[in-house]
Symmetry: C2
Subunit: 378 residues, 2 copies
């Protein structure tokens, strides 16, 4: 595999926080960056034009979902994911591993791969490192992921064997991958055990991927545990390759992750919260159903200049939520994605100006991680 189509340019580093550019065949990704998720080849409730206007330059699509429906052959036949979903900037697909373990019905894992029942129709399907790569090559994203096993973070025995399997699968994925216009990233596992994370980071780093990811976090561990794992892993992963923290997107986690050397994040949080009437802001989360907004003429966030914050009042957004209008989800999705991208953009600028510690301190002075009742993933 020749990844000359990709290069990671590190522009500045401030303690462990980094600012860079990841060059891809579909354009440059300024890092650190947050990637909105288009699970089924669509960012929920948004057109690609709206996602782009919210400032996104990288989006994620889920291999598990697209493998089941509409199938990667169809996407390939339609010219690949960029053409299919009309997103001309970079796309990242995950490997399907996480969803096989979190969404699929009964599954059977062995060293070859995973057999599982589709959550859509109960049919039996199979993913292996080789088929995951084949599917991702058909989908045609710019960044693709090695097939991994994501186990419960506290079960050391199982975590150990899952990690070792993930390592063997990473090598098989690397062998199977032939497209030169895609960057295959390896995934570090190891639960919440520093020694396993260290072992995994060393092994994955040794394979020389053009980028590396950290999986198996934000799945039930504490914030302190997540931070500790990031420190162990990022002290080992090569500095000249982008580092991607999978499935993480709460504002405070972006700030903490960047502080520990993460370059790429993705999460369904902004669009999922939007569908549960929560607005993400730089000062915390607003539940737009709150009666205090009923007569509030202000925009969701007076400091924001996204489409949703230009002219629409909180009173109107609340009305849309109460009346169950789809437009509520659309406007809140635009706003929430914009907020996360404002955070990564401001963080990047702070790194470039070597004032990240101050940036993080200022962030926490304003930010309160209050939670709406609907924040849990579901």
């Amino acid at each position: 595999m020749n990844n000359s189509a990709f290069s990671f340019e590190l522009l500045a580093q401030d303690c462990d926080a980094r600012a860079g550019i990841f060059h891809t065949p579909h354009g440059d990704i300024p890092t650190p960056i947050f990637a909105p998720v288009g699970t089924q080849a669509a960012v929920k409730a948004l057109t690609p034009a709206q996602v782009e206007a919210a400032g996104a330059s990288l989006i994620l699509a889920n291999t598990y979902h697209l493998f089941l429906r509409p199938g990667s052959e169809l996407v390939a036949e339609m010219g690949g994911l960029h053409q299919f979903m009309q997103w001309q900037q970079p796309i990242l697909t995950d490997s399907g591993g996480f969803q096989v373990f979190s969404l699929a019905q009964t599954r059977k894992v062995d060293d070859d791969g995973v057999a599982f029942k589709s959550h859509i129709d109960g049919s039996t399907k199979r993913l292996t490192p080789e088929t995951s790569i084949a599917v991702q090559e058909q989908l045609g994203a710019d960044i693709i992921m090695a097939f991994d096993e994501c186990a419960h973070p506290y079960d050391r025995t199982y975590i150990t064997s899952a990690m070792q399997r993930t390592h063997r699968w990473a090598e098989r994925c690397q062998k199977a991958h032939v497209r030169t216009d895609q960057a295959l990233f390896g995934i570090v596992q190891g639960g919440i055990f520093p020694d396993l994370r260290e072992q995994s980071a060393e092994f994955i780093a040794s394979l020389g991927f053009p980028g590396n990811a950290i999986g198996g976090l934000s799945v039930g561990e504490t914030k302190a545990e997540m931070a500790a794992m990031l420190e162990v892993v990022n002290s080992i992963l090569p500095a000249d390759k982008p580092r991607y923290l999978m499935g993480v997107g709460a504002p405070e986690d972006l700030v903490e992750g960047i502080q520990r050397g993460i370059d790429i994040f993705d999460c369904v949080l902004p669009t999922r919260l939007a569908r549960h009437q929560a607005a993400m802001t730089l000062t915390g989360r607003l539940n737009m159903l709150n009666a205090s907004y009923a007569h509030d003429p202000q925009p969701i966030d007076p400091t924001c200049s996204c489409y949703a914050c230009r002219g629409f009042s909180r009173a109107y957004i609340r009305h849309l939520v109460v009346a169950r209008e789809i437009l509520a989800s659309t406007l809140l999705s635009i706003h929430n994605i914009t907020t996360l991208l404002r955070i990564t953009t401001a963080a990047r600028q702070a790194v470039l100006e070597h004032r990240y510690t101050q940036f993080a301190r200022d962030f926490y002075l304003r930010y309160s991680s209050n939670s709406s009742p609907m924040e849990t993933t579901s």
Copy 2:
């Protein structure tokens, strides 16, 4: 009431078909025109920017719905409907009459008005000609409607008394209306009875409204009955005022209505069909769930240049429908509204060029009024 803020400019007439401009305080409405419906102060699944990009210059909002939720006082407090929903072009509100008779639970009509139970929470509410006008003045649309009683079209006895009541209410609405920046339209009723329609048109015309509407059609009668009623009514309604056919929006009904002198139409059809996976085109309706589209790389309508038809394939739209993505409703709503506005725009051009008969003939040569299973209103 002084309606100097409004004037109807008749640019051309071709047989009974008309092309004009209705000047309003929020801009000019080229006629004939189709108005998308934003029932609850939002066109379903669309941002105002998307509605505008689809070519709309007039939209409708429902007084009944907004009276119940969020309340017209709130809308007034937020600066009126234009500011509240961020639509800067003209808005039309209906009187609430139709929904009181079609949506509300138990209702009691007397000469004073209607008491009914809210379909939202069962609470008892009351609308009279005076309160309907007061509510519409608070909402602040450019065009507002007299409060009317819409009865079942075949019950002559009831239709007669409902028509007479509608006439008395029209006079009361006219008296109650004070805002000079709104045009109050009268509504002709009379079911499917030519003599009643004639009587109603004469009475409503005599009141000298700045525009007149035809209500109580597209509620179960045949296409031939609707056409006959339009001919009777429009031979009486003044030619120098706009004529609005309420609740009608099937492509063939636009062509037939314009042919009989209608200038303004509104209907939930394009957005409702969109949410039931149907695409409206100049050749007929497409059910986007159809398996024949699964591998179809063409846009929904190759002759259309709306956002949904620029790049997105039928295969992708079908995938969104199957995967129940909100984006399916958004893209199909954009497309369907665009289609109806393409029809009224082309019809207008045909009138201006005195070739409307040929236009209507060409339309029918291509158009087949096939129906999707979900087309019925619900």
